[in-house]
């Protein structure tokens, strides 16, 4: 089982790597078959990582969501699942060349550092609410990631139009209106899911307050998640009200996603992700 898990995991990473390379080739040269290959390879990579996830779950009898390797793999699988759902619309398929390279980069990093995580037991998640909380959070991050990449595509298209250079890749990407619609759908799904995740997490933390400390809600991770939820709410509702549209919306979503990444990275590197932050400090 462990061997199968290892094979599926590394094969999945290799397939993502190939998908990333194919996507870059498509950005450079217009070959519809290369785009088909990108989507197929990313799909196959996701299937392998999902299999590795299942093998790991069976092998340790624990939902594998806690280690960095598990988290990244789960994020890649969920992002690809949403991407494949989007790709059912033929006129947005070219967006795969924006989604696949960062996923490939993430999988390369994961393959390089995952060895220890993969072959040790994952930490047990206490109860179904926590499993749901973590799973939904990853799905929301996947939606935000895709929204971030879609906004990058929007900025690219808009800049090309503004600079009067509508050739090459521009002609293969979806229209601005299509990108805007995709973007708002992704945020529209990600934002309520993220709020629901926060509510579930808060419920779980409240039941575990003896363990997490009385001021768990002041932990940087919780505060920042709350700020992110407010940011999403403001962005989404301003867009719905027609006050935020086009390049400004795209920039805001892209910068928001980059900020989210940066904050979580800083929290992880400084080991500040504990809920007992203020308790530990005092």
């Amino acid at each position: 089982m462990i061997l199968s898990m290892g094979v599926a995991f590394y094969l999945g990473c290799a397939l993502y790597c190939a998908a990333g390379a194919a996507a870059i080739l498509y950005l450079w040269r217009d070959h519809e078959r290369v785009l088909d290959a990108t989507i197929a390879l990313a799909g196959a990579g996701a299937a392998c990582l999902a299999a590795a996830f299942a093998f790991r779950w069976i092998a340790w009898r624990l939902v594998p969501m806690t280690t960095a390797a598990d988290s990244i793999a789960l994020f890649a699988v969920l992002s690809t699942a949403v991407m494949l759902a989007l790709m059912r619309k033929p006129n947005v398929r070219a967006l795969a060349c924006f989604y696949a390279p960062p996923l490939a980069a993430l999988c390369i990093v994961n393959a390089a550092v995952a060895h220890t995580d993969l072959f040790t037991a994952p930490r047990a998640l206490a109860g179904l609410p926590l499993v749901l909380h973590v799973g939904m959070a990853f799905l929301a991050y996947a939606l935000f990631f895709l929204a971030g990449m879609t906004s990058a595509a929007y900025v690219f298209q808009s800049q090309r139009l503004k600079r009067r250079h509508p050739t090459g890749l521009f002609q293969r990407l979806p229209s601005l209106e299509q990108l805007d619609s995709t973007l708002i759908r992704l945020i529209g799904l990600g934002y309520p899911l993220f709020v629901l995740t926060l509510i579930l997490g808060a419920f779980w933390a409240h039941t575990q307050r003896d363990l997490l400390g009385p001021r768990w809600w002041l932990a940087p991770k919780v505060v920042l998640s709350f700020v992110l939820a407010i940011f999403c709410a403001v962005t989404y509702h301003r867009r719905r009200a027609g006050r935020l549209r086009g390049p400004r919306l795209a920039y805001q979503v892209f910068i928001g996603f980059i900020a989210l990444l940066a904050i979580y990275l800083i929290l992880a590197l400084l080991h500040l992700r504990t809920y007992n932050f203020w308790g530990a400090a005092s």
Binding site: D30, N91, Q157, L161, K162, R164, H165, P166, T167, G168, F170, Q171, P174, S175, L176, E177, Q178, S181, A241, G242, R243, L244, R245, G246, P247, R248
Partner: protein
């Protein structure tokens, strides 16, 4: 065997000369019959378009020079124009060069607008007309079939047809790259220039939702609106209706800018920042260039559209180089096939001739040697057969080689004379 093309195109001859030497659809059947009769039953195809007049000929025995002479004579006599008047504009290609030329023409590498798709249809029509008149032969049929497959390969394996190259089509492409669909979009036309009508026509054919027409003269606005099933609006009401326009085509004759950033800012506010595409094709410009800096407003003037056309043309020229490689490969393949087809009758006839000699001589020899046993008679038979095969081997290889490098007619004619073969 000879294959040749004689003709003139947009590069070698003037438009006037092309018009004078062209063949109308009605004239074509008679011209094909005439050319076929002149060239002793040669396979012929005549391609006559606005940009080229070309006569393709193939004959199993006649040499290329004679075929070309017949083609030139037809052009001169049919149109009653002395050859001296158009001789300098004519070009002629023979053998593999003629094959490559046809493949380049069909693939639109030789067109005035590289990558245009019309020419393949025109070549197809020319071939069908010749077939209907039973003016094609086996080689012509194979040549044109190969030309169609090469042209399709060039179109599918390169981007030679990508990117529009007319101002109005580029404008429509840009609109399609901003909006998901045009069927629910409103086009506002300001002024009534020729180019704005062309662009409107292109957008109308793509099924835009509604059309608003504004003109200083409301009568003229009504006239255009009626033609495109649109709504005429008084010019004075421009500000009141500007926010309704998803696409604005402006081409008034105003001597200064009539649309300012503030008007667009207001319009964008009223349409909840939904994008606007503004095509300013007026000279001097109708829209202040600063309007292009507004978010969600995409402003293109005539120079911008021309620049896009130029970029698309330059991209097509790059693709044409890739297309030329596909054409070369196709021409090589066809020439190889043709060489095998051409050499075959001569080789067969040469082998038959030598074997007939062998049989005659063998018969004589065996009659003079009655004491030979059956086995010895068989051995002598085998010996002569081996000698004939060895003699044939070298000429067979050399004929195929030589007709690939020299005029096949000359090579095969020489072989036939050397071996005393009948035509």
């Amino acid at each position: 065997m000879s294959l040749a093309v004689v003709g003139l195109n947009h590069r070698s001859g003037s438009v006037e000369l092309l018009e004078r030497l062209g063949f109308s659809a009605n004239e074509l059947p008679r011209a094909l019959r005439d050319l076929r009769n002149r060239a002793d039953g040669a396979g012929v195809v005549i391609l006559s378009t606005c940009n080229r007049v070309e006569l393709y000929l193939h004959h199993a025995q006649m040499d290329s020079a004679s075929l070309c002479a017949h083609a030139r004579a037809l052009l001169a006599e049919w149109h009653a124009i002395p050859e001296s008047e158009f001789g300098d504009a004519l070009y002629a290609f023979h053998g593999q060069d003629a094959i490559t030329h046809l493949f380049r023409v069909a693939s639109s590498l030789d067109s005035l607008v590289v990558g245009e798709s019309q020419i393949l249809g025109q070549v197809h029509d020319a071939y069908l007309a010749a077939r209907t008149e039973q003016a094609t032969d086996k080689v012509m049929h194979a040549l044109f079939q190969k030309a169609f497959s090469v042209a399709k390969a060039v179109r599918s394996r390169t981007d030679i047809g990508a990117g529009n190259i007319s101002i109005s089509s580029v404008a429509v492409d840009l609109a399609a790259s901003i909006f998901m669909e045009l069927s629910n979009k409103t086009v506002m036309v300001l002024g009534a220039g020729e180019m704005s009508e062309l662009t409107l026509k292109s957008l109308h054919s793509r099924g835009v939702g509604s059309i608003l027409v504004l003109n200083r003269s409301i009568e003229r606005a009504r006239e255009i609106a009626a033609r495109f099933d649109g709504e005429p609006i008084a010019f004075a009401d421009l500000d009141r209706h500007l926010h309704r326009a998803d696409i604005l085509i402006s081409s008034t004759a105003a001597p200064h800018a009539i649309l300012h950033p503030a008007q667009f800012r207001d319009a964008l506010e009223r349409r909840a920042q939904e994008p606007m595409f503004v095509i300013d094709i007026a000279v001097p410009r109708d829209v202040e260039p600063e309007a292009g800096d507004l978010d969600n407003l995409y402003l293109y003037n005539m120079d911008d559209l021309r620049q896009v056309v130029e970029e698309n043309l330059s991209a097509r020229r790059e693709q044409a180089e890739r297309g030329a490689a596909i054409v070369e490969r196709g021409a090589d393949e066809f020439a190889k096939w043709l060489r095998a087809i051409v050499a075959e009758p001569t080789i067969v006839s040469m082998a038959r001739e030598l074997r007939a000699i062998r049989e005659q001589e063998l018969e004589k020899t065996l009659a003079a040697l009655p004491d030979l046993t059956e086995k010895q008679r068989q051995e002598v038979g085998y010996l002569t057969e081996r000698i004939v095969n060895k003699i044939l081997q070298s000429p067979m290889t050399q004929i195929k080689h030589e007709i690939g490098h020299h005029d096949p007619y000359t090579v095969l004619h020489l072989v036939r004379r050397l071996f005393g073969l009948k035509d």
